[in-house]
């Protein structure tokens, strides 16, 4: 089977390893390296002006992640498509496992230990959910999209992991999962009003869900509404983050000069609040520069989607870009006090091995779409 596939590709274009490598967008890779470099600088200052213990590990992990990304980029997208549902099933199994025997931390059960590192299966789930949905809609002709019954399986595909993640409980990731799913639905051509209907249904369900939320989740929502109500408790993080940002001003305090981060006022400064750390030292100018770089990477992903000539690749690229965008948006919105705090890292900048690997796997898949943008990938249903 694999042999046959390979021959098929060769028949179309010259598709050797070298050819594939050529087709990788190295400009995009350079942008990612730039982002990881920003992460290095941020972690260097977070450790008080030294590479240990965060920055050096960060760059090693990125190097490993880069190799992984290129490796994945070389895998034929059609093979990946075939594995979509298998990986989806694996993701669901992992989510179930984490509920049964995962590590408990900060009032939630979301981690699983593997190779000495704690992994969040929900991060993996976001990627494989995109693959599964893309696979489903890849087969969908325009006519079939109009059939409401056709939409029921993909809705369930989204709801199953969302429900499991909610149970951990991890409200933030569950919402992100749903948003990514929604984006794929939209990209696949599901009518706006249908998506709007689902969103409305979720809106109605939200107050009911709030009753079932854990106390710490409610506290997060309440402190978001009025952070100063509990300055030393749950609101502490948001207030301290805002103080650090505000004291950075337009031009910042200078590299390694941020007082709030260095004096440990900033919580989780090497993970969730790394953006604050940077924006304190490099000011609004530095912060907006970083947002600009992230925007270029996101839009780059969207361009890959637009450039792709098959539906599967388009939807995968769209979903993965949305995934990356959600990391960025939630993290920065969180540290600027625009949405409730939730443990979402800034991709490729925050300290953390498993998150970095997951992001790089996502980037590898995105790059695979780009490498295989022109392959013949019939949806297989047109003929029927």
């Amino acid at each position: 089977m694999a042999l046959m596939e390979r021959r098929l590709i060769r028949a179309e274009i010259d598709f050797g390893i070298a050819g594939k490598l050529w087709r990788i967008s190295w400009l995009y890779v350079v942008l990612l390296c730039l982002l990881a470099g920003v992460g290095y600088a941020a972690l260097y200052t977070a450790a008080g002006g030294q590479a240990e213990p965060f920055a050096s590990k960060h760059i090693i992990r990125f190097g490993f992640g880069l190799v992984l990304m290129v490796g994945i980029a070389l895998i034929d997208i059609r093979l990946i498509a075939k594995l979509s549902w298998l990986t989806y099933a694996a993701g669901v199994v992992l989510l179930t496992l984490v509920l049964r025997m995962g590590h408990v931390g900060k009032g939630a059960q979301r981690w699983i230990e593997l190779g000495g590192t704690l992994w969040q299966p929900s991060e993996f789930m976001k990627i494989v959910l995109v693959l599964a949905l893309a696979h489903w809609f890849h087969r969908a002709s325009w006519e079939r999209m109009g059939n409401p019954l056709f939409l029921i399986p993909p809705i369930l595909t989204v709801l199953l992991p969302v429900g499991l993640i909610l149970k951990e409980p991890n409200l933030g990731t569950a919402v992100i999962c749903a948003v990514i799913g929604g984006a794929v639905f939209l990209g696949a051509g599901v009518r706006w009003w249908k998506v709007a209907l689902v969103v409305a249904a979720i809106g109605i369900a939200a107050p009911i869900a709030y009753d079932h939320l854990h106390d710490y989740q409610r506290a997060r929502i309440m402190t978001f509404m009025d952070p100063e109500s509990d300055p030393l408790g749950a609101g502490y993080n948001i207030i301290q983050s805002r103080i650090a940002l505000g004291s950075g001003g337009m031009w910042g305090k200078g590299f390694l000069q941020g007082t709030q981060g260095h004096l440990n006022f900033l919580p989780e400064k090497q993970t969730d609040f790394i953006f604050t750390m940077l924006a304190e030292e490099f000011g609004f100018v530095g912060g907006i520069g970083l947002i600009g770089l992230l925007a270029v990477i996101i839009i780059g992903g969207m361009l890959i989607a637009l450039r792709c000539r098959h539906q599967y690749g388009r939807l995968v690229a769209l979903g993965l870009s949305m995934n990356f965008f959600m990391y960025v948006f939630v993290n920065i919105a969180m540290v600027t006090g625009s949405i409730p705090v939730g443990g979402v890292p800034l991709p490729l900048v925050s300290h953390g091995g498993s998150a970095m690997i997951m992001v790089m796997i996502g980037m590898g898949l995105l790059m695979s779409v780009h490498v295989h943008r022109d392959v013949e990938f019939p949806d297989g249903r047109e003929d029927l």
Binding site: G187, S247, T259, F265, P267, F284, I299, A305, Q311, F325
Partner: protein, 619 residues
Amino acid sequence: MKRESKRTGVFTRRALLIAGGQLAALGYLGARLYQVQVEEGARYSTLAEANRISTRLIAPPRGRLLDRFGTVIAGNRQNWRALLIAEQADDVGVTLDAFARYIPLADHERARIDRELRRRRRYIPIILREFLTWEDMARIEVNAPELPGVMVDVGTTRQYPLGPQLAHVVGYVAPPNEADAAEDTMLALPGMRVGRAGMERTHDAILRGRAGAVQLEVNAVGRVIRELDRQEGTQGRDVTLTIDAALQTQVLGRLGEESASAVVMDARNGEVLAMATTPSFDPSLFNSGISQAQWVEWTNNRRAPLINKAASGLYAPGSTYKMVVALAGLEAKAITVNDRVNCPGYLDYGDRRYHCWSKGGHGMMDLRGALKNSCDVYFYEVARRTGIDKMAAMSNRFGLGTKLAVDLPGTRQGFVPTRAWRAGQGKAWNIGDTIVCGIGQGYLQLSPLALATMTARLATGRAVDPHVTRAIAGAAVPGGRPEDWPSMGVPERQLAAVREGMWAVVNEQGGTAPIAKLEIPGVQMAGKTGSVQVRNVTREQREKGYKSENLPWELRPHALFVAFAPYDAPRYAVALVVEHGNAGSAAAAPIGRDIMTDVLTRDPAHRVEPLSPRVAGRN
């Protein structure tokens, strides 16, 4: 393929829309960042500075209270205490249990510790136990490995070397409550105390001083990175009192087991040399908080150890009030010094008969004789002629029933009735009430301190106010010199007549208190006794041959005595009350004599004015 291109078209449109949405969202974040960093930047910069710099207060030691000769009345001593720093303990509960094995903690102590553990941040030390003995400390240090987070350190605590002897004047200190801590942040520091009564309370701010401050750069958990700035606070200053500690001890010893109080005053300037109240209490007990049982015992004790009877105890003045009645009568021209009144043993007014203490009567009495014999009928008549309002006005001039400018908290001004007061109650004043007031009974309520003030003013003719503060941080407070006090404006001739009557009480054959005659050659004392019933004597009792010493203790009359000496160059005034002591002449006068003897022999070198030759001549 047409369908395929339609699908592609839809995707392209939507992907562009989504990308636009993403850019808009990121743009929003940029705007938000601008708002937080640039627009509100200044505000947050200030907050950041406050965040980084923590101001820690350093409490200065509390100032001391000294007696007039510099003897320490209230000082500080080292206080070894066991502290717990929660963040250094692996398990606070285990550490506390281990601690309790070596130094038992009562339930209320454990509750307080738990409360502070919840309230304070984990790096702030919490006091487990104060006033550790050497054995306690040894036990803690030896078992230190079992007690992670526990440390022993030294603070200061209040010490009262004279113990109960000056409790009522000095007052006491106690741990601050929430309201105190809100007023002065320094009070939140461990081991701080607030003056709660007496001079500790009057001069609390002076004694406490102002906290110094260290500005420290700290990290988010409060650990000190480095010291930025240091401001020394104001030391608590010493306050010198007018009290003579040695005299106080003597006076207290003389009062003995009675429920009594005595005030010794410098008649020239109102300085209180001794203010004794028995029984007393140990003020240092309040330092660490007193037990419920102790409190109940004190409040249920009918001798009321917590009350400063000298300043807050109110009694009818009885015959000690007669001098004021006489002066009111003289000023109102109701009588003259030489006018005589016949005393048949009673005075009939309206349908009531007012008895003299002498059943057979004193016969014809002038002012001198009436004071000497304490003739009630004479003063009934003077009061009737003078009227209550003029008596009240004269009382006020002598510091009775009026607010005294005294620096001791809790002083009660007592009460002298007026017609206006009675009218305020919606009732008409009875002449009968005036008559009763003539012998210091009825509505009159006065404290020993007020009576001492009255006596001092009688003796010197100056409107001195009693005070206990002599100097603050070595600088004398105003009021120490006799010239600081204005003249009473009472004619010297009238004062002299009253003084002479008081001289006769003590020094003449037939006076009511010859027992009080001083045995110091060349020095004479003038005085007046008083006995006041705490309940009315009925006619039936009187006919049965009523004897007050046969009554139960709490129904016996109070015994009072006021005096000044030396007679011709008045220097000291004494007033004392022995609760339920029966007759003033028997129970109070001898104590007054002994106190005055002690005062005069103790301090002759300090006397400025020479003894008058006239006194010597009389002898």
